[in-house]
């Protein structure tokens, strides 16, 4: 046979070898353990452990919260002891594990977790240096009454939080601003108060230019947050109904966090955003950062400084 026919036949023959292939979902990863633990100096270690669930069934009933997992704690590579399981409590919606050891700044903490046939989890982290949150300054404050509802009041404020951010290295901060709102109702002649905290917003600034952007959340309507290396200006507004609410103090908590902490929460926020934007079909999915080997979650230390502002 002439070589030209052989060459041509080769191309045609490929037709018969070609075949269809389907997506093999079995090859995807199996269920994993999910672990969260944030720790700060002088506080007890506390972590939550759960299992992942199949997609499309975001039903908390399917989530397992193992009570008999073995979770070991190590300090600077030295085994301390195992965590203990604490079942559901009145204040704790999810069960958790705790450890009697109080975290110390500067130490490297590691954990290992083992549960049934799940892959073993391991993670390590440390506590960063304390953040330097200076005395804040109120720049603006205004109270406005809604004409249509005499009990509805809006408050507009702006504060300046002086920060002492290091300039040489990249560090990560988490700023949480919380407004305490005290609900009350009159039962007979008694007034019953239920204090609650409303998160005004939660920001994860990354020096030198804190990456501040709006986040959907209750009571936070709009603000332009100015930022530079030495201070963060935070302006915000919120409203209360005086017929059953009283305004309490505002707490400004600045956390110096690890890079893992920052990346985890930042990417988590972004997956929230991406999930709400279904229009861009071909976009890359948002992967949430985690520092748990063999599983999902976050094990990270932090150190906070809090200021209280009473209006």
């Amino acid at each position: 046979m002439k070589i030209k026919y052989l060459f041509f036949s080769l191309v045609l023959a490929l037709l018969f070898f070609a075949c269809e292939e389907d997506i093999q979902l079995d090859s995807l990863e199996n269920k994993k353990l999910v672990l969260f633990a944030n720790f700060q100096p002088d506080s007890l270690f506390k972590l939550s452990l759960s299992t992942s669930i199949p997609i499309g069934s975001a039903d908390s009933l399917l989530v397992q919260y193992p009570s008999d997992a073995r979770i070991q704690l190590f300090k600077d590579g030295e085994y301390l002891s195992d965590f203990e399981f604490v079942p559901f409590t009145r204040d704790q919606v999810r069960p958790f594990y705790t450890h009697e050891h109080r975290a110390e700044a500067g130490a490297i903490y590691s954990i290992k977790a083992q549960y049934q046939n799940y892959p073993m989890l391991s993670a390590s982290s440390t506590i960063p240096t304390p953040p330097q949150l200076q005395a804040m300054k109120v720049l603006e404050w205004e109270e406005l009454n809604d004409n249509t509802n005499p009990d509805l009041y809006f408050y507009f404020g702006k504060v300046k939080l002086p920060l002492d951010l290091p300039s040489a290295t990249t560090t990560y901060y988490h700023l949480l601003v919380k407004q305490q709102i005290i609900r009350y109702n009159v039962v007979g002649s008694d007034t019953v108060k239920n204090s609650r905290i409303v998160n005004l917003f939660s920001r994860l600034p990354k020096v030198q230019r804190p990456n501040l952007q709006l986040e959907p959340g209750h009571l936070l309507e709009s603000s332009e947050i100015a930022a530079d290396n030495s201070a963060i200006e935070v302006d915000f507004n919120f409203g209360i109904d005086r017929s059953f609410e009283l305004k309490g103090p505002i707490y400004f908590e600045l956390r110096h966090v690890t890079k893992d902490y920052y990346l985890f929460h930042k990417s988590r926020e972004e997956q929230d955003l991406a999930n709400s934007q279904q229009s861009i079909l071909y976009n890359d999915p948002v992967l949430i950062h985690n520092n748990i080997e063999g599983g999902i979650g976050l094990f990270s230390g932090y150190q906070a400084s809090t200021k209280r502002l009473t209006w």
Binding site: A18, D22, S57, L214, R268, E270, L287, I296
Partner: protein, 894 residues
């Protein structure tokens, strides 16, 4: 006093330099101390005869006979050359002239003696243009070869060549792919301008005659590039009957793409923004229609396509992965021609002809897709069945106009204009009634994007060795989105409302550029290219205007991303040096200065390529290139959407860089077959990516996108691979088999825990088989099969619950595992095409009939989540876009 001296020494290389100096000084002493003869001595008539003697011996005898000292070196003469003379009463001068006539030596009479020296070899330059005999179009890369010495050159981008040779008679061969070779006798006694017209090879239509790329006549720029054989492309299977330059590139080794071309070209693991796509020398930012299904280059207007992926001559810069140099047709300056074709997807027409015969020509062409009436009708019907009115529609098209004018034999002006774009429309209206209430809903969306290019070029030939090209260009890429939304409720005063909103988003890039390129050809051993480019970039990454009659006047806004101006200046120097007839070096440096936001980047890019051809059938090459790129494409999908933003390097975002090493060999297997193989290693630095989850979405995030620099991270990439190409270039069956084995990954400190991950288009194995069979003089059959390992993405079957540190459940999130950990099924498809061509008295017509994706392979374009309400389960659904697609194309040429 007479002084008789015959100096007879050998100038051999192993004589020490000091000895040579001493000999020279002795010679000078003797010369000056000798008796001064007058010129009359050579007029002395003597009798002289020699028979079958060497030239040296004849001179020796003449010196004896005439008493005139004659000095010479015997290596001046060919030892095989014999002298036989007989003179009677003849002047010594005449005898000398006769003896030396067949040699390359001449004599000088000075200080009473005759010195025999080598004749000064006078070199002259043959320069001019190679053009198509029928259209007058200049031919790019035509070979010009002296058949005896095998010295040669090739024509440049404007058909100009320059070949300096000693003053002799030559047989110069001019050859060009698809044309009959022409051999021109040349008596080179002076600098000689020439214009050569080559006849298209009509007798072997569409059968490719391989142009020689042997060294040195091939020149580095030819051996470094892949040249797409346009004639062959015309008969190969296509998508919808549209022959496409950039799609054809995907069948070459090292070039990868997304599904059916969507997502652009990814050359040797590079991103799609790393390809320098040149349209007549002007960079094009978005060279695609239909998200990458088609390029903006209508095949009929393409004159030449050259493609560089491993060895980059220094004259190219600005991108780090590849160069695709597309030159369009100049126009027929001899006869009027018209061409029209209709295919499944698009129709086109082209007209060209002389404005002034042999001096000036015009070229006009237009192409437009014509599926829109069908798309509109189908979507209208579909929506009607759903109780709605409205439609969706899509079209693309372009026009090109070119004029050229040869003001003199050394000056040529070219003016070209291109405008093309895509239009997508989506309109949806419905009316709902409930008792007295009536709701009217209207939603209109229109997306438009496209390129506009204007080029003015002046070719000037300073002399036979220096050719210059001056170019001024203005190019823009525009994207505009226009959304209008209206919703109203009437019939009940209490609940009535009316809401209107209009959002206009637009982004734009403008380049204003001036270039000077010089080709200097001092001799056949050296080819110098140098140039200076200056470009002003203007980036308007995005601007949005929103109008509404909402209750909140604050919703009427107009905002834009920060416009950025940048200046890019570059100079290059490139030398092509034929060190030895079998060894060629192309070396140079491209240096650029980029000024943006008070920040200046000054970067040099050394380039080096060495070609060695130890035997006729073998050629090896090694090259090293450093490349920089000041432009970046911000994309979240890699799908080639027009919404992707081009942004420049800034004070915070450094330029991309690449180091490319390439080692390869080519083996000519007889007359018909050749096998080429290359191994490459490519390191890419300062690649950008959105930080995990950072998003840019038109309309909603326009303001936050202002800080895009804060949302990106930089990392690096690495690609390495082996490419093989087996070609059959002659005979009734031609084609090639190509295989690429490669591995490409990316590494970003803040992505995937800093662990390297596979590139989205890391196709480990890519195989292409292409064959064209000349069944009969008018019939051709061709087929191609493509296979590549699947692209990478992320899928998950898992969700997990985030529990905050107070033990409160917050929300559920998806677990996608490691970055790009899921591999899509392999991509493969088989296409075939029949081509029939018939010559008529009035012109010709041709017909293409073919099938794309013959066995209807469902190649996955993307995967979307699919919720099944019956099982309350979420799964995945793959979406394929091009099923089996029969097509036709009818072309008529007058």
């Amino acid at each position: 006093m007479t002084f008789r001296l015959v100096l007879y020494f050998k100038l051999v290389k192993n004589i020490p330099f000091r000895l040579l100096i001493k000999s020279g000084l002795c010679l000078l002493f003797l010369l000056f101390s000798s008796t001064i003869f007058s010129q009359k001595a050579l007029k002395t008539k003597i009798d002289f005869a020699v028979k079958d003697q060497s030239v040296a011996a004849a001179l020796w005898q003449l010196s004896e006979a005439s008493s005139v000292p004659i000095s010479f070196s015997d290596n001046l003469f060919d030892p095989k050359l014999r002298a036989s003379h007989s003179f009677t009463d003849t002047p010594i001068k005449t005898i000398l002239e006769s003896i030396l006539a067949p040699t390359s030596a001449r004599f000088v009479y000075t200080n009473g003696q005759v010195l025999i020296v080598k004749k000064t070899i006078r070199r002259f330059t043959l320069s001019g243009y190679v053009e198509d005999a029928e259209t007058g179009e200049r031919l790019i890369g035509a070979n010009v070869l002296d058949l005896q010495s095998q010295r040669g050159t090739s024509s440049n981008e404007y058909g100009f060549f320059s070949l300096s040779l000693p003053a002799e008679k030559y047989q110069i061969q001019f050859s060009y792919l698809g044309y009959r070779s022409h051999t021109q006798p040349v008596d080179l006694t002076q600098n000689q301008p020439i214009k050569i017209s080559l006849q298209p090879n009509l007798t072997l239509e569409a059968i490719i005659v391989r142009a020689t790329d042997d060294l040195p006549s091939g020149g580095a720029s030819k051996v470094a590039s892949e040249e797409l054989p346009l004639e062959q492309m015309d008969v190969l299977p296509t998508l919808g009957g549209e022959v496409d330059v950039l799609r054809s590139l995907q069948q070459l080794p090292g070039v990868q793409s997304g599904t059916d071309g969507i997502g652009g070209l990814h050359v040797r693991g590079g991103n799609s923004d790393q390809n320098l796509i040149l349209f007549d020398g002007v960079p094009v930012y978005n060279p695609y229609h239909s998200l990458g299904l088609y390029s903006i280059f209508d095949f009929d207007m393409v004159h030449k396509v050259r493609y560089f992926r491993g060895q980059f001559p220094a004259r190219f810069g600005g991108r780090v992965s590849s160069v695709v140099d597309v030159r369009t047709r100049q126009g027929n300056n001899r006869n009027y021609e018209a061409r029209a074709s209709i295919g499944l997807i698009a129709s086109k027409i082209a007209v060209e002809g002389p404005l002034s015969k042999n001096k000036s020509a015009f070229y006009l062409s237009a192409r437009r897709s014509h599926l829109d009436p069908f798309i509109k009708s189908y979507t209208k019907k579909e929506r009607s069945q759903a109780g709605e009115t409205g439609f969706a529609n899509y079209s693309f098209g372009e026009i090109i106009a070119k004029v050229d004018y040869a003001t003199s034999s050394k000056n040529h002006l070219y003016l070209s204009f291109y405008k093309g774009g895509d239009l997508y429309q989506n309109e949806n209206r419905f009316t709902e009634r409930a008792g007295p209430l009536q709701r009217v809903y209207e939603d209109e969306q229109q997306l438009q994007w496209g390129n506009t290019l204007s080029v003015l070029r002046w070719n000037h030939q300073f002399n036979e060795k220096v050719f210059a090209n001056f170019t001024g260009t203005f190019s823009t890429f525009n994207f505009q989105s226009n959304d209008r939304f209206q919703d109203s409720l009437s019939g009940n005063d209490a609940n009535a409302y009316s809401y209107f909103q209009r959002d206009i988003y637009q982004s734009k890039i403008e380049d204003l550029s001036a270039k000077i390129d010089l080709d200097v050809v001092p001799n056949p051993q050296h080819y110098l290219r140098m140039g200076f480019h200056l470009t002003r970039h203007f980036f308007q990454p995005g601007a949005i205007t929103t109008q509404s009659d909402d209750f909140f006047p604050g919703n009427n806004l107009s905002d834009s991303l920060k416009n950025i101006n940048a200046i890019e200046a570059s100079v290059y120097l490139e030398e092509e040096w034929v060190i030895h007839p079998r060894l060629l070096l192309n070396a140079g440096v491209y240096t650029s200065l980029f000024s943006v936001q008070q920040k200046k980047y000054l970067l040099a890019e050394p380039r080096l390529a060495l070609y060695w051809q130890p035997a006729k059938a073998w050629r090896f090459h090694f090259s090293f290139s450093r490349m920089n790129q000041y432009l970046h494409l911000l994309t979240r999908s890699g799908a080639g959407f027009p919404t992707d933003l081009w942004v420049p390097s800034t004070a915070k975002v450094a330029p991309q860089q690449a180091l490319i090493f390439d080692l390869g060999a080519k083996w000519q297997l007889g007359e018909q077959w050749s096998l080429a193989s290359s191994a490459y290693h490519k390191e890419m630095r300062q690649l950008i990516s959105y930080s995990e989850g950072a998003n840019f979405n038109i309309n909603s995030d326009i303001i936050s996108a202002n800080n895009w620099e804060e949302k990106i991270i930089t990392g690096q990439g690495r690609s390495r691979g082996i490419e093989c190409l087996l070609k059959k270039e002659k005979g009734t069956v031609q084609g090639w088999l190509s295989y690429t084995l490669s591995e490409t990954n990316r590494q970003f400190d803040d992505l995937n825990k800093g662990i390297p991950f596979p590139f989205r288009f890391d196709h480990r194995h890519v195989f292409n088989a292409v064959a064209a069979w000349q069944i009969a003089p008018k019939w051709q059959f061709s087929s191609s099969w493509t296979y590549s390992t699947g692209s990478r993405t992320n899928l998950t079957l898992n969700e997990w619950e985030y529990i905050d540190q107070n033990g409160n459940p917050i929300s559920f999130y998806y677990d996608f595992g490691d970055k790009n950990s899921f591999q899509l099924p392999a991509y493969h498809r088989l296409d075939w095409n029949f081509h029939y061509q018939k010559q008529k008295n009035w012109g010709s017509w041709s017909l293409h009939l073919g099938v794309y994706n013959t066995y209807n392979r469902r190649n996955i374009y993307y995967i979307k989540t699919d919720y099944n309400p019956l099982t309350d389960q979420l799964g995945y659904k793959s979406v394929s876009i091009v099923p089996i697609l029969p097509y036709f194309r009818l072309t008529i040429q007058l």
